[in-house]
């Protein structure tokens, strides 16, 4: 059986799912300041409720915004050195558009000239010694190596990494070719962010490992990544940046599992945001074009989704007959919302005014909704549903009529609100814990993003050969052989260059062996 954990900004959700896909227990708990005590309390509760012993848990699956939060509220970031390897130093400064609070973690920028010539290494030992001395002098805590052309030939990045490891065995080192393809600036950005995050993730991993040991959970443990697939805890230590956007992906996958639908649109209605994404062939769809975090261009694979800054806790005002949706009071909704006796008019209040029977909890006092105008509330609902419908339409390329699955704390407000008769809308049970459930069903993945010179081989031969490598990787990671398949292949031919150059991005996925297939065969509750 599996233990699924989702650590969000507001809540920490933990579930136990049995081997036949039965939900054995769940717990929703406010996320604690130290993260870990919240996980501990909720985990103890679900184990107790499920009446099992910790030894029965065969795998732990964690989705967390912890690493992402470290970028917004910098704690435990590492002072990082950038080592650029190129022909002649460029005036382009690293981290140009970064927010100041992250920029100051860039310790120093070093330049090395390309040092591989006809596969012979020509680096001067003296130059390396100077580098080592300076890294010590500057108190560098992490290193990012970015070599021009490394997606085509990573040999210089590997060589330098190995040399540095000999001298600084404990130093976290990120090589840019592992985090991006052609486009030096985006690749360097991603590698640099990754290196800066190395302390955060090490700390988190240590605490998690200690916690699970303490709780007698001695099974393997995975984190979910931006694209929704799994990465083992010890492996994640080197790639923290891969875990910064996994929350929404897990929720979309959970919606697919809970509804049993392998093709659908998911609307996750939370307290502060609404996230809208798409499931194709049982997998969350990811973006193909450029992506960014905090306006930093990184070109990483992230889920394709629309995030509306609207949630159940968003404040409302009407100016000159026009609805204005403002900041959210999600964490205080149950104190300040009109439906709970407060004075703040929120989206939740608007929906409840029009449909008071929608939901109730003992703390609610709907009589105060009297003072709101029915027409105004109708206008609010119309605006919210209109925005959601627009985004749904954008995701529905050539696939009109996809069913819509509603999940998340605010999703009950939307039931019967979205499409009337002609569209199938699902609101599955347990939708409020769809992230934690989704994490339990995440697949293993292996991917490749490389640039090839088509010299002696055809494109098809290269794809076949790389596919074989990916499948082998998945087997080694513990995927079920029969479940392994190619998830996506994208080709980017290069303009102008004589003799073909082709960038191929390929991803393969497979189900984790210890768990019955997460094939949407629906969870039993």
């Amino acid at each position: 059986m599996k233990l699924g954990i989702d650590v969000g900004g507001t809540n920490t959700d933990v579930v136990i799912v049995g081997n036949e896909g039965k939900l054995l227990s769940w717990k929703k708990q406010l996320t604690s300041n130290d993260i870990i005590s919240g996980i501990e309390a909720a985990t103890k509760a679900v184990i107790k409720d499920a009446r099992i012993v910790p030894e029965q848990i065969e795998g732990i699956f964690i989705g967390t915004t912890h690493v992402q939060n470290a970028l917004y509220h910098p704690v435990q970031l590492s002072k990082t050195a950038v080592i650029r390897i190129m022909k002649s130093p460029s005036h382009v400064k690293p981290a140009l558009f970064w927010p100041e609070h992250l920029k100051r973690y860039i310790g120093k920028v070093y330049h090395l000239k390309h040092f591989y010539d006809d596969s012979k290494q020509t680096l001067v030992p003296q130059e390396l010694d100077n580098l080592y001395r300076d890294l010590i002098k500057e108190n560098i805590e992490a290193i990012c190596i970015a070599a021009v052309n490394s997606p085509l030939n990573p040999i210089e990045e590997f060589y330098l990494r190995d040399q540095l490891k000999n001298v600084f065995p404990e130093m976290p080192i990120t090589m840019s070719h592992e985090l991006g393809s052609f486009g030096f600036i985006e690749r360097e950005n991603a590698a640099l962010l990754n290196a800066i995050l190395s302390k955060v993730i090490r700390q988190a991993m240590m605490e998690l490992t200690d916690l699970f040991r303490k709780l007698n959970l001695n099974c393997p443990c995975w984190l979910t990544q931006n694209d929704g697939s799994l990465i083992e805890l010890h492996e994640a230590i080197d790639y923290p940046i891969f875990t910064i956007g996994s929350g929404a992906t897990n929720s979309f996958r959970g919606a697919s599992i809970l509804s049993g639908l392998r093709e659908c649109i998911v609307v996750d209605f939370g307290g502060s945001t609404i996230e809208i994404g798409k499931i194709r062939n049982g997998q969350p769809e990811s973006t193909e074009s450029s992506s960014s975090f905090l306006n930093i261009d990184v070109n990483l694979r992230v889920p394709k989704m629309y995030s509306l800054p609207i949630g159940g806790g968003s404040l409302i005002s009407i100016d000159n007959g026009v609805v204005q949706i403002k900041e959210t009071i999600a964490n205080d909704l149950e104190h300040q919302g009109i439906s709970w006796g407060g004075d703040s008019w929120t989206i939740t209040d608007s929906f409840l005014k029009v449909n008071p029977e929608m939901f109730a909890d003992e703390k609610m006092t709907l009589d105060r909704l009297e003072k709101l105008s029915y027409e105004d509330c109708q206008m609010v609902i119309k605006k919210v549903t209109q925005e959601i419908k627009e985004k749904i339409a954008r995701l529905e390329v050539n696939s009109d009529g996809l069913p819509v699955v509603l999940v998340g704390g605010g999703s009950k407000l939307l039931v019967n609100r979205l499409f009337g008769k002609y569209k199938r809308v699902y609101h599955p049970l347990c939708n409020h814990i769809s992230n934690a459930i989704g994490a339990c069903y995440a697949p293993l993945s292996a991917q490749y993003d490389k640039v090839f010179w088509l010299m002696n081989q055809t494109k098809e031969e290269i794809i076949e050969q790389e596919k074989g490598k990916l499948f082998q990787q998945l087997l080694r990671k513990g995927a079920k052989e029969e479940s392994i398949k190619v998830d996506s292949i994208e080709e980017f031919p290069f303009d102008y260059f004589k003799g073909e150059v082709l960038r191929i991005r390929m991803k393969a996925i497979g189900d984790l062996q210890l768990i019955p297939a997460g094939d949407g065969s629906s969870i039993k509750i």
Partner: protein, 368 residues
């Protein structure tokens, strides 16, 4: 009257240059970051308009070849200045201003860096009015100015093409050098006296990309932004944009043929365009829009914009599922003359049609 480019204007110019590149001209991240890295807050670059030019010797600088490699092997920033120096030595004349040869894409900004580093003014104009893949596709060449000498600078080596009058030969020699030396090079050339520059350039295109960038980065709703952008074009040598479709990219095919990124994609109309479907062909740039028949071809401009932000897409960013708005913009008249169409008309891009002006160009159509 002259005007000044400040550091804070660079990102606006980059967006404008990408927009008017019509899908070509490359990703501007590197050139933009170079300028932002090298300029200080209070640095300025003087721009000379048509009226300000007297008898200066004006030289063009920029890059040729693969912008993919340009963005990977990031330049030091000094390449074009070195090329300019070699050029000056070769012609025994000092540049008194620089000009963009191609306002669309990377080359819209590259001369600004050269101007900045050499304390020269940059001319408000260019020789393409958008992005095109060949040096023969310039108003400079149309006006019988000689392209040679042309200085080309690669990472390891350099060359000067001189005393070659045949434009095809210059072009082939340049490409051959480029291919042998890594796929992209920096150039200086297209030198001419101000009187000739005035007669052959498309004036005001630098100011145009600045205004376009400004319009597209305003905190406005899509419809308001659209109006701003329309107004900018309307108040320029270009015609008023014509809305073609708003919808979703449904199929993309892209391949590589004779040194160009070629392909097409379809857009399925949504909302007020829901019964419409168009096909866009590209060859380094977007070159045609087809419904049943061609409704727009080069040299008229085809803009493919993100439906939510109105930010422009280039050819390599087009992916299935994108929501886009497509506009056709009548090119400046000089590009539509019979003589210029010999170089930049549909047949130069392997389209089997003759150039037709855009339909609906003359009646005002409101964007909804």
């Amino acid at each position: 009257m002259t005007w000044q480019i400040k550091k804070q204007d660079i990102p606006l110019l980059a967006i404008g240059a990408k927009l008017i590149g019509c899908g070509g001209g490359g990703n501007l991240l590197t050139i933009q970051n170079l300028l932002l890295s090298m300029m200080k807050e209070d640095d300025t670059i003087t721009v000379k308009t048509l009226a300000d030019l007297e008898d200066e010797w004006v030289v063009g600088t920029g890059m040729m070849g693969s912008t993919v490699f340009y963005n990977e092997r990031i330049p030091s920033g000094e390449e074009e200045s070195q090329a300019l120096q070699l050029y000056e030595n070769s012609v025994q004349q000092k540049a008194e201003a620089v000009i963009s040869v191609e306002i669309g894409g990377v080359n819209g900004l590259a001369p600004i860096l050269t101007a900045f580093l050499n304390h020269l003014p940059v001319v408000d104009g260019d020789y393409m009015g958008r992005a095109f893949p060949e040096i023969s596709m310039t108003t400079f060449h149309l006006n019988q100015n000689s392209i040679s000498p042309l200085v080309l600078l690669a990472e390891e080596t350099r060359t000067i093409i001189q005393r070659v009058e045949d434009i095809q030969l210059v072009s082939e020699t340049a490409k051959d050098f480029m291919m042998k030396n890594g796929g992209n090079v920096h150039f200086a050339g297209f030198g001419a006296k101000a009187s000739k520059v005035k007669a052959s350039m498309i004036p005001g295109s630098l100011y145009l990309i600045f205004r376009l960038g400004k319009a597209l980065t305003k905190e406005l709703r899509v419809s308001e932004k659209m109006e701003e952008m329309m107004a900018v074009f309307d108040n320029s040598l270009y015609g008023k944009p014509i809305p073609i479709i708003s919808g979703v990219v449904s199929e993309v095919s892209r391949w590589f043929e004779s040194e160009s990124l070629i392909g097409k994609f379809a857009v399925d109309g949504q909302s007020s365009f829901s019964n419409k479907k168009v096909e866009i062909e590209f060859r380094n740039e977007f070159i045609s829009i087809k419904e049943k028949n061609y409704i727009c071809t080069t040299p008229d401009l085809i803009l493919v914009l993100d439906a939510e932000k109105l930010s422009p897409y280039n050819v390599s960013e087009i992916q299935r599922g994108l929501s886009v708005i497509i506009l056709a913009v009548p090119a400046p008249n000089i590009l539509r003359t019979k003589e210029m169409l010999e170089y930049v008309g549909p047949r130069n891009f392997n389209l089997a049609v003759s150039y037709q002006p855009l339909q609906g160009e003359h009646h005002d159509e409101a964007w909804n």
